[in-house]
C-alpha cells in the first residue's frame, strides 16, 4: 500500500518535471498572442525602452489593458502587400509539395521494391545529398538557375526543392514496411508494375507519403535561405522573409503577422502530428 503511494507520487513528480520545461516552449507563443491584441500605445509603453536602448526593463501583461483587434484589421484589410506575400508562401509550399510527391514517391518506390545493386549505390548517394546543408549546394543551384534563366522567380525556389532527396528517403521508409510477398503474388496474378504501384503501393505506403508531406510543408513554410539568395524582387518573397523586415515601431503588425504565419504551421502540426513523429522515425532509419 505504502509502496503504491510512493510510486504514484514519484510518477506525479516525473510528470511535473517533464511538463515544466514545456512551459518554456509555449512562452514565445503566449507573448505573440498577447502582443497581437494590444494597441500600439500600450505596446509602445512596454517595448520602447527595449528597442531604443532606454533604461527601463521590458514590461508585459498577460491580459492587455485595452484588448483590441485593430492590428489584425489593419494587417488584413489595409496591407495588400501582406496578402501578396502570404500567397507567395502558399504557392511556393504547394508547388514544392506537389513536385516532391510527383517525383519523389515513384523514386522511393523504385528504391524500396526493385532491389538492384545499382539502386543501392544510388540510394547511398541520395542519403549523402540529403545530408548536405544548403550552403554547400547554394553555388551549384545558383549556377543552374542562372543558366536556365530562372533566377528571381518563384521557380528558383521551387525547382531545387522539388528534387531534394529528403522526401524520397522518408517515403522509402513507408514503402519498406510492406511485405514483398504481396507484390510477388500480384505479379503472378498478372498485375503490371504500374498497377501494383498505384493500387497497392500508394495505399499501403500512405504513412511514409504523409510524413513527407507534413515535414515538407513545415520546411517550406519556414524556408529562408533559398528565397533570400535567389529572389531579389521583394514582391515575390515569402512571408518568412517579410516578417523580419517589420520594424519594432509597427510591433503590433509584427505580432499579428507572426501569429497569422504561425497558424497554418500549427494547423498542420496538430493534424499531422502522428505523421510528423512517424516521419522523424523514418528519417532515422538506416538502410
Amino acid at each position: 500500500m505504502r509502496e503504491n503511494v510512493l510510486k504514484s507520487l514519484q510518477k506525479g513528480i516525473t510528470r511535473a518535471a517533464l511538463i515544466l520545461p514545456g512551459a518554456l516552449v509555449f512562452f514565445p507563443v503566449i507573448l505573440l498572442l498577447t502582443g497581437s491584441v494590444m494597441d500600439q500605445y500600450e505596446l509602445g509603453g512596454y517595448l520602447t525602452s527595449v528597442f531604443m536602448d532606454g533604461t527601463d526593463f521590458i514590461g508585459w501583461k498577460l491580459m492587455p489593458d485595452y484588448p483590441t483587434f485593430e492590428n489584425y484589421g489593419k494587417l488584413l484589410f489595409m496591407t495588400p502587400q501582406f496578402f501578396v506575400l502570404f500567397w507567395n508562401s502558399v504557392r511556393m509550399a504547394a508547388g514544392i509539395l506537389a513536385g516532391q510527391l510527383l517525383v519523389g514517391v515513384p523514386a522511393a518506390w523504385a528504391f524500396a521494391v526493385y532491389k538492384l545493386r545499382a539502386g543501392r549505390a544510388l540510394f547511398a548517394l541520395y542519403v549523402v545529398l540529403m545530408l548536405l546543408p544548403f550552403q554547400v549546394t547554394m553555388l551549384s543551384s545558383y549556377l543552374v538557375l542562372n543558366r536556365l534563366s530562372l533566377l528571381n522567380s518563384r521557380q528558383a525556389v521551387i525547382l531545387p526543392a522539388v528534387f531534394s532527396t529528403f522526401p524520397v528517403f522518408l517515403t522509402y521508409g513507408g514503402f519498406r514496411g510492406i511485405p514483398e510477398q504481396l507484390f510477388e503474388a500480384a505479379r503472378v496474378d498478372g498485375a503490371r508494375e504500374w498497377y501494383i504501384f498505384f493500387r497497392m503501393g500508394l495505399p499501403l505506403g500512405k504513412s511514409g507519403i504523409l510524413s513527407a508531406v507534413v515535414l515538407g510543408f513545415l520546411e517550406s513554410w519556414n524556408m529562408m535561405e533559398q528565397p533570400m539568395a535567389f529572389i531579389d524582387d521583394k514582391s515575390l518573397w515569402p512571408l518568412s522573409l517579410y516578417l523580419p523586415q517589420i520594424t519594432w515601431v509597427q510591433a503590433g503588425s509584427a505580432f499579428c503577422a507572426s501569429v497569422i504565419t504561425l497558424i497554418p504551421a500549427a494547423f498542420v502540426f496538430v493534424l499531422g502530428q502522428d505523421y510528423l513523429e512517424q516521419g522523424i522515425i523514418y528519417s532515422g532509419l538506416k538502410e
Binding site: K11, R15, L18, I19, P21, G22, L24, V25, F26, P28, L32, L47, F51, D53, T55, F57, A107, A110, F111, Y114, G119, V128, L129, L131, P133, F134, Q135, V136, T137, M138, L139, S140, S141, L143, V144, L159, F163, T165, V168, E193, F197, N222, E225, M228, A229, S240, L243, W248, A254, S258, T261, L262, A265, A266, F269, L276, E277, I280, S283, K286
Partner: protein
C-alpha cells in the same frame, strides 16, 4: 526440356524489374543530376580557376580560403557550435525520453516538446529580441532574482552583442530541436524487447543497472541517427543568427553560413566554390566515419 525454360523466366523477370526501376527512378534522377550533380562538377571546376577571367590557378583558391581570417573564424565557430550543441542535445533528449518512456500518457508531453519544430523561425525573432536585448526579459528576471536573494545587483548584459550571443544560439538550437531527439530516443527505447529488461529485473538488476547494461547498449543505432540529424539541423541555426543579428553579427557567432552568404552577395564565386568543395568533402568523411563506427558496434 524444362531446365532452360526457368532461367529464361527469371531473366525476363529481372529485365522487367530493371525496366520498372528505371522508369520510376528517371524523373527524380534526371532532376537530381541536372540540379545537383552536374552543377557540382561545375563548382569543382570553378574552385580551380579565377572568378573573373576563368584562368586555371590550381589549388590557389584553396590556399586563399585557408589563409582567410574570416574563413578561419567561421570554421572555428561552426565547429565549436556543433561540438557544444550535439552532445548537449543528445543528453537532454535522453534525459527527457527515458522517464517519458515509462509514463503511459506521453503523447501530450511529446507534442509540447515537438511544437517548436513547427514554429517558423521568423515568427519568434521578435520574441528572441524581447528576451535577450539589454532591457529584455532575461535581464529583468535575473535582476529581480538578484534583488530577492540579495546576491547581485542589476544585470544589464547585452546578450546579442557580446560573447553571450553564442550561448543564445545554443539555447535556441536546443529549444527547437529537443522534440525530435526525444521522439527518436523514445522510438529506440520502445524497440527494446520488454522481456530482456524484465529478465534483468528478475535477476536483481536495479533500475540504473538496467539502464547501463541493457538499455544503453541497445540504443547505439538511435545514437547514430540522432547525431547525424542533429548535425544536419545544426546548419539551420543560421536563420536565427541572421535574423537576430544580421549578416555581420558578433564575432562569436560568425558562422560558415554567414561567410558563404557574404561571399555569394559579393560574387566571390572562386572562394565559395573552394569552400563548398571543402565543406562537402569534410561532411562526406564525417558521415562515412560515423557509419563505419556504427557498423562495427
Amino acid at each position: 526440356m524444362k531446365k532452360p525454360h526457368k532461367p529464361n523466366r527469371i531473366n525476363r523477370m529481372k529485365l522487367r524489374k530493371r525496366g520498372a526501376f528505371l522508369s520510376f527512378m528517371a524523373p527524380s534522377f534526371l532532376g537530381v543530376a541536372l540540379f545537383v550533380l552536374l552543377p557540382f562538377l561545375d563548382v569543382l571546376r570553378r574552385s580551380l580557376v579565377t572568378a573573373v577571367t576563368g584562368e586555371f590557378v590550381g589549388t590557389a583558391n584553396y590556399g586563399t580560403i585557408f589563409h582567410n581570417q574570416a574563413f578561419q573564424i567561421a570554421v572555428a565557430n561552426t565547429l565549436r557550435f556543433t561540438l557544444v550543441c550535439i552532445p548537449l542535445l543528445v543528453l537532454i533528449g535522453f534525459l527527457i525520453a527515458w522517464p517519458l518512456s515509462r509514463l503511459k500518457e506521453a503523447g501530450l508531453i511529446r507534442s509540447v516538446y515537438l511544437f517548436p519544430l513547427a514554429m517558423p523561425t521568423a515568427t519568434i525573432v521578435m520574441v528572441w529580441k524581447m528576451i535577450f536585448y539589454k532591457q529584455g526579459f532575461l535581464n529583468l528576471f535575473l535582476t529581480r532574482l538578484g534583488e530577492m536573494t540579495g546576491l547581485w545587483g542589476e544585470i544589464r548584459t547585452d546578450y546579442l552583442g557580446t560573447e553571450a550571443a553564442f550561448w543564445v544560439l545554443v539555447g535556441s538550437y536546443i529549444w527547437k530541436n529537443t522534440g525530435y531527439t526525444v521522439v527518436l530516443w523514445l522510438a529506440g527505447i520502445l524497440n527494446i524487447a520488454v522481456e530482456q529488461i524484465e529478465a534483468a529485473r528478475v535477476d536483481g538488476a536495479g533500475s540504473l543497472q538496467r539502464l547501463w547494461f541493457i538499455v544503453l547498449p541497445n540504443l547505439k543505432g538511435s545514437l547514430y541517427t540522432i547525431v547525424i540529424l542533429s548535425f544536419l539541423n545544426s546548419f539551420k541555426i543560421y536563420r536565427e543568427a541572421y535574423l537576430v543579428a544580421g549578416a555581420y553579427p558578433h564575432k562569436s557567432i560568425y558562422l560558415l553560413q554567414h561567410l558563404f552568404n557574404n561571399w555569394f552577395v559579393n560574387l566571390e564565386f572562386d572562394k565559395m566554390a573552394a569552400a563548398a568543395v571543402c565543406t562537402g568533402g569534410f561532411l562526406l568523411v564525417i558521415i562515412l566515419l560515423l557509419q563505419r563506427v556504427w557498423d562495427k558496434a
